[in-house]
Symmetry: C2
Subunit: 377 residues, 2 copies
């Protein structure tokens, strides 16, 4: 998954310290794959996955829309060339003054999951379109889900009726099947819920127009994942099943699926040691860890492919840890990670599939270490 | 725990957005308490807990030494007025070129826990003093410990002999009983281990001079914690028990205990909602969460006191979550957190005991949110 362009960049530039290199050609390929696999859905790139200006500019040029989590992300999308009409303020948790700022910037599509949020939007962005997020069960997702976003479908009906009463345009329903979702049929039950919300509201004379099917599209880490095409087929089949010949507008919000496999982190082995002479496992300490960009190793949720220059050699299971003085800064310990016995202090390693959810997650200065550098090529 | 000076600052300045305010008077009091409770130990402030220049300058002026995790932290301590002789490079995981940079800056005290690290130091900082960290069991600590740092005592003997053979000054032993350690007798068994290492090395003609007793001193969150004096009494008793009338030089490395209770985070309630009409608990969303500085709520390890303007009112258990679109950004959900029923959207809350391990842990730009601002007064 490390492209030749990334290899060439690293060989030529030899950047010091850990860094992420993102190959824009891969991002373009991913965008094309989504557009081809789901031609009837609007693509809203989840900016939070990787807000690098070069990535946003490329996607804006390709015709992508943008799912933004904050006013800062809205401003970045506008700066990259997107019009406000192509931006969704997809965070269900917004300060009223941030809603007002987004409204002033021309944004007119907002996520909600509560009556309280509807009230804010009715005051700060009168007349805007809102979609209500419903809770899904998230089974099969590799990054932990919670009940943080969304409400139960029956409450979503009430929220959208309330929005209508307050003069907003009750526009649709959203859900998220869970990040790094490897089951292509995970959208089916959520679409069934969405349809029920459509029907309930239609009975009250409110005609929703859009289903935001969220993100969740995976990137390849150690295991193969289904293609965009397989997701597209399964999702469109589910749409036909539940909506028949009245399929609404649909939105998808790929983040990880758009940029995850486009990025590779170059890191360095700082130390390899044991805790006792008869320790079973070697500890391999890298110059990047949980606080330097690899936050998604929390609970060992995401297991990144790690390549070394010794990959043909005999392997042995290792603990992998980061460089900080924090004892929680351990990447893989419950499930040891096989690395070559010949791996040495000072060697470089490539951590693949790191284009999403790394740079911005990085701690600003923990232990005095700089945040993760990024090169977009 | 919110001092009048902090209240006055917030009332006068009305800073927008979440921010940490640190009262230097409290830091000074904490330093004095440690110096009074452990007069025979050198205080090495753990810079990583809060590296704000004002904090470092105050402590340098008071005569503190500094435990640094990186070259950047060493440079900050020097900048604050410490001499290189007052600095310990306490991270057991160091790039050889960073050891060389520290050596060039005049630092001559280094932590090790492996033969490999000893080799680096012998090459990059010839003749330096080294202390070897031994593993402790960490029982009773509230922040999760791991086996990340240190080696078993028998291996520490070998490491220090090796350091001696390579021309380094085998100077002492270190250990860390675990962060937020609330048992005052936790140092006893580690000091017994340290003594055994001293004895083993003395038999080989190597005379260690120092025990680095690490940090672990707690700050008050919701529960009371023992005073510095109680720790001092218990630790000096253990030193007498194990070292008799040959008590070595000792070092302590308070971080959390030095600055934790000096800081308060001002945050805002962004949303209060439920997930269904008959949901048991309200969800209270703040404008700060796990990625904005409250990383130590990971696994709900640290439970911060949260003050509101309605604290006399009836309370009910709530889920508390942060403002990002990340489902893992939930602070307290397994153990619900009691908050006043009268708490409303837009209200300010004060999160106490947040002077340590907050600002630098903050994500650099996750979801477009700025890192946590800090005001040192």
């Amino acid at each position: 998954m490390t492209t030749q362009r990334i290899r060439d960049f690293l060989a030529t530039r030899r950047p010091d310290g850990p860094c992420l290199v993102v190959d824009l050609d891969v991002v373009r390929d991913n965008f094309d794959a989504f557009r081809h696999a789901m031609p009837d859905s609007a693509i809203y790139y989840a900016v939070k996955a990787n807000p690098a200006p070069e990535v946003l500019k490329l996607l804006a040029g390709l015709g992508s829309n943008f799912d933004c989590a904050s006013v800062a992300e809205i401003e970045m999308a506008l700066e990259a060339g997107a019009t406000a009409a192509r931006i969704s303020y997809g965070n269900t948790i917004k300060k009223e003054r941030d809603v007002a700022r987004a409204h002033a910037l021309g944004v007119s599509l907002f996520a909600v999951d509560s009556h309280e949020e509807v009230e804010k939007i009715s005051r700060a962005a009168p007349g805007a379109r809102v979609f209500c997020r419903v809770l899904t069960d998230g089974e099969g997702a590799e990054w932990p889900l919670s009940r943080k976003f969304g409400c139960v479908p029956q409450m979503a009906v009430d929220v959208l009726v309330y929005a209508h009463q307050l003069g907003l345009q009750s526009y649709g329903v959203s859900f998220h099947v869970g990040s790094q979702m490897t089951k292509v049929d995970a959208w089916d039950s959520a679409l069934a819920d969405a349809k029920r919300v459509f029907v309930s509201l239609a009975k009250q004379g409110i005609h929703l127009q859009m289903v935001n099917m969220g993100g969740g599209f995976p990137t390849k880490y150690l295991r193969d994942v289904p293609s965009a095409e397989a997701y597209g087929k399964s999702i469109y089949q589910a749409l036909r099943t539940h909506f028949g010949n009245q399929i609404p507008q649909t939105i998808i919000e790929p983040g990880r699926g758009m940029v995850g496999n486009a990025g590779v982190i170059k890191a360095e082995v700082v130390l390899i040691s044991k805790k006792s002479d008869n320790d079973d496992a070697r500890w391999v300490f890298l110059d990047i860890g949980k606080f330097g960009g690899l936050a998604e190793t929390m609970d060992e949720a995401i297991r990144y492919p790690i390549r070394t220059e010794h990959d043909g050699d005999e392997m042995e299971p290792c603990v992998i840890a980061g460089p900080t003085c924090d004892s929680a800064d351990v990447l893989y310990e419950k499930n040891l990670y096989p690395l070559p016995i010949s791996l040495s202090i000072g060697d470089e390693v490539l951590i693949e599939g790191t284009g999403a959810y790394t740079t911005t997650y990085s701690a600003v200065a923990f232990n005095g270490f700089d945040p993760l550098k990024a090169y977009i090529i």
